[in-house]
């Protein structure tokens, strides 16, 4: 019994290594085999099927010995990590990228009136500053602006009216109607030589 387990295990190990090294051979169609091996293509393809069947049977044989109850306590953990890492930011999967880096710049989005005075966002908008920030990066991504930060995307932001797109996506409260002019601006903070520098850019202005 033990020697059988070892032989089957070794066979599986070699098969999986070959599969990893030469996947094109294992997934090749009958036509491809005939092209690669004009004389013996069909025989080799059938042999491949037999080998594939052997690998499947060997795997099923080994599955009997897997302590499922013990593995159940970690199975979901690994499946979720691998799935999230491969799939990325598509709910319910995520790599949880929040603060995975600390760039030496930051964008903050503000609401201002005609006199350039900051207005408290929650008084006029159902979205908070963090959500508006998400909106900005979602708009950049949707418009295929993949390089951003430090103001490098500003030409595209102006040309593609990203500010207007954001303005239309924001859920405004009725209190907004009391204002004749509303400006959505981006404050750009940057650390340079240990000092904090600040620049402001108007993204969109709605004035009656």
């Amino acid at each position: 019994m033990k020697s059988r387990k070892i032989i089957i295990g070794l066979g599986l190990l070699i098969s999986f290594m070959l599969l990893a090294l030469f996947p094109w051979w294992f997934w090749g169609t009958i036509k491809e085999f005939k092209d690669w091996y004009p004389r013996i293509g069909l025989i080799l393809w059938l042999l491949k099927l037999v080998l594939g069947g052997g690998v499947l049977l060997g795997t099923l044989y080994y599955v009997r010995f897997i302590p499922f109850k013990k593995l159940a306590s970690v199975y979901l953990f690994f499946v979720f990590i691998i799935s999230s890492w491969l799939i990325g930011e598509q709910h319910p999967f995520s790599r949880y990228p929040m603060y995975n880096s600390f760039p030496n710049y930051a964008y903050i989005f503000v609401l201002e009136n005609k006199q350039n005075e900051h207005l408290p966002l929650i008084k006029y908008s159902r979205l908070n500053s963090a959500e508006i920030s998400h909106l900005y990066f979602s708009a950049l991504k949707k418009n295929q602006i993949l390089e951003y930060g430090m103001g490098v995307e500003d030409d595209f932001v102006d040309r593609l009216n990203i500010g207007e797109e954001m303005f239309e996506q924001i859920k405004w409260k009725e209190t907004k109607d009391s204002l004749s002019c509303l400006k959505l601006s981006r404050i750009f903070l940057k650390i340079e030589s240990g000092k904090l520098l600040k620049q402001e850019k108007t993204l969109y202005e709605s004035c009656l």
Binding site: P92, S129, K171
Partner: protein, 289 residues
């Protein structure tokens, strides 16, 4: 009292009563996260998750949203009352994925909320129970499976930091100081509270001038996230580790003013319902004597 505390530290499910309170609080907090989906349709401008596969513009219809709301109520009731658990959990898993996909498709985040993962994990626990009935094992898996999802989320966060910034992540005190300042400025922008501006400047200067403290704190935060997998080794590990993770979130709130109540940790790691029960019994015994 000692026995009760021992039971608490064991980290094991303490029966139907305990499980009922976990379900009730969890489903209510979940509902609070998603209620806007039923009232404000929004637009599907940035399709995410479920909305990349399915035309989510259908949810603009008030009829569809009313039906979704009724379905949510029915599934939540079945879930809390421990009736028809398989269809209830399957429904809640699907509704949660739809709801957070809709919220995420508005471009304002939410793709990383793991309530959906928790519902799916509980659903799998009941599927296993359906095929291999074992009540004691179910009591273990309906908590342990969600613990795996939560632990995986924290480990993913650590891996994300290491893969993007590698070891430089916790050495970058200047970048961290800027993000702290940004976070506090966002609070000022939201509310107009002037004292937040003062706090932003104070913390920024502190973090810039004392880099060793920043490096140490960030190192421990990263290590705490990365080693969350140890909660899978023994049930009682998650109780202690849960409190450490809650402390991490508290630190994030104090420094960056990010308001986040870690309900998942309170329910599935530190067993808040049991702790409240023990505390209540202690208060009762003090008043009796």
């Amino acid at each position: 009292m000692k026995a009760a505390f021992k039971a608490y530290i064991s980290g094991e499910d303490q029966g139907l009563d305990y499980w009922f309170w976990i379900k009730l609080v969890f489903v209510l907090s979940w509902f609070v996260s998603i209620w806007t989906v039923f009232l404000f349709p929004g637009t599907n401008t940035y399709p995410n998750g479920f909305c990349t596969l399915f035309p989510c513009d259908l949810f603009q219809s008030s009829t569809i949203r009313i039906l979704l709301f009724v379905w949510t109520l029915l599934a939540s009731t079945g879930y809390v009352m421990e009736k028809y658990m398989l269809p209830s959990l399957a429904s809640l898993s699907l509704i949660s994925v739809i709801a957070f996909s809709l919220l995420s498709s508005k471009g304002i985040g939410y793709s990383n909320n793991f309530s959906s993962g928790i519902f799916i994990a509980q659903f799998l626990a009941y599927v296993v129970h359906f095929f291999t009935p074992n009540k004691a094992y179910l009591r273990h898996t309906r908590i342990q499976f969600p613990v795996q999802i939560i632990a995986a989320s924290y480990v993913l966060s650590a891996l994300s930091k290491l893969s993007t910034s590698d070891i430089y992540w916790f050495f970058n005190h200047e970048g961290f100081a800027l993000q702290v300042k940004k976070s506090l400025l966002m609070t000022y922008i939201n509310t107009g509270q002037e004292q937040t501006l003062l706090k932003a400047d104070l913390l920024f200067n502190f973090l810039m001038n004392y880099p060793i403290i920043t490096h140490t704190a960030l190192f421990f935060a990263l290590a705490l996230e990365f080693f969350t997998f140890i909660v899978l080794l023994k049930p009682n590990f998650k109780v202690v580790y849960g409190w450490l993770l809650i402390a991490l979130h508290l630190g994030i709130y104090l420094f960056m003013d990010i308001h986040y109540l870690p309900m998942h940790l309170l329910l599935f790691f530190v067993g808040a319902p049991l702790l409240i029960k023990i505390f209540g019994q202690k208060v009762k015994s003090i008043f009796k004597s």
